[in-house]
Subunit: 223 residues, 2 copies
């Protein structure tokens, strides 16, 4: 029987590529989306389609209401999504997001008796979020080992972040080689009601530049 992995899946380009990498490595992939009150449910629909297309063993959504505490342009409608590059950590940063998502993935991994969690964080073409750096992932892996029955009983929990050192173009090239259908994915922070991308936000700009650099036709539907 294939080893099980929990794969965090957002509906975007990066995590779709991670799911393809995990599946290609032979894991039975249990895909998890976290509904943290982000502005667009479109992202969750995209995640479900990606999970199906890439043959995930299972797809689940876990809800946690971060909109309740606000503090980010992605969860608080009173904070505008920036449409130009900013200095420092941008307003789209969601407080403790990756820590919350990895915690939920860890809980599910324990129940599944899985020791492997995949996440699509990237420290190259990224938005400057603190919880996307290698030191952060290493710290979570240490924590997971101490936090769990799996770890205490001798298991070795691994947080896999295979995109960490890849450029957006390299991520796209890897995904194309694994037959990822990027037309299913949505990266935009403020898509229109039919999933059309704005072309202006940080996520759109990183995505478009990635397709340009990879010399791959961008399948994104722009609004």
């Amino acid at each position: 029987m294939a080893r099980k992995a929990v794969v965090l899946l957002s509906g975007g380009l990066d995590s779709a590529t991670v799911l393809a990498i995990a599946a290609d490595s032979g894991y039975a992939c249990h895909a998890l989306s976290v509904d943290y009150g982000q502005r667009h449910a479109i992202e969750l629909n995209a995640a479900r389609r990606v999970a199906e297309a890439l043959g995930a063993a299972e797809y689940r959504v876990m809800a946690v209401d971060l909109a309740h505490i606000g503090g980010s342009a992605l969860t608080d409608r009173d904070i505008a999504v920036p449409t130009a590059a900013t200095d420092g950590i941008p307003s789209t940063y969601v407080p403790a997001r990756n820590t919350i998502m990895l915690s939920l993935a860890l809980a599910w991994a324990e129940v599944l008796h899985s020791e492997d969690i995949f996440i699509g964080v990237n420290a190259v073409d990224y938005s400057g979020y603190p919880d996307c750096r290698p030191d952060y992932i290493a710290a979570f892996e240490r924590l997971a080992q101490l936090a769990t029955k799996t770890g205490v009983e001798g298991g070795a929990i691994r947080i896999h972040a295979p995109l960490m050192q890849m450029s957006k173009a390299a991520i796209i090239e890897r995904g194309m080689a694994l037959a990822v259908d990027y037309s299913l994915t949505v990266s935009c922070y403020q898509p229109d009601s039919r999933g059309g991308a704005c072309g202006l936000c940080d996520a759109c700009r990183l995505r478009r530049a990635g397709f340009d650099d990879a010399k791959v036709t961008d399948p994104t539907r722009y609004a």
Copy 2:
């Protein structure tokens, strides 16, 4: 203005004492309960009453559906709550619970610009859960520093676990000195519909022994 702290509050004896300690230390306390699908909403009602009685600045409940993944006697009705001491980690262990609760507390702390989080974990009279040990708390503190805008921008996030090395009797004595009304708290893993304690589960046995050792009359209502 008082420094703000986020205090995790379960409705039980330990976290009520922690809230009293944090308030006594001069913090403006933002009390947080996490509704993770535990069997008894009675616990959350107790938490709200404790927050009010101890003068918390604010009380919030954040919901995350762990019942969805099961794996614990506290969230899965198909797993029985044990009524005698067991070897190893008991079935009441909730996968990654403290990691999830601390992550949510961390998110709220960031939004509040607070660097202080309090949690009532204890490594003396406890149930053998891995995520109640000093190494675990230290690992989460390191993670929190790397995970957040607060940490990156020079703040020093602290996870306070003031009960860590205290016996249950010492916790009760400290709480009595701070005028905690323990009749408001509920420790039982399987209280009846009116909050009456079973007197048999691990949590009831630890609580009863603590009151005995402290030579304090136990205000618990037994079913």
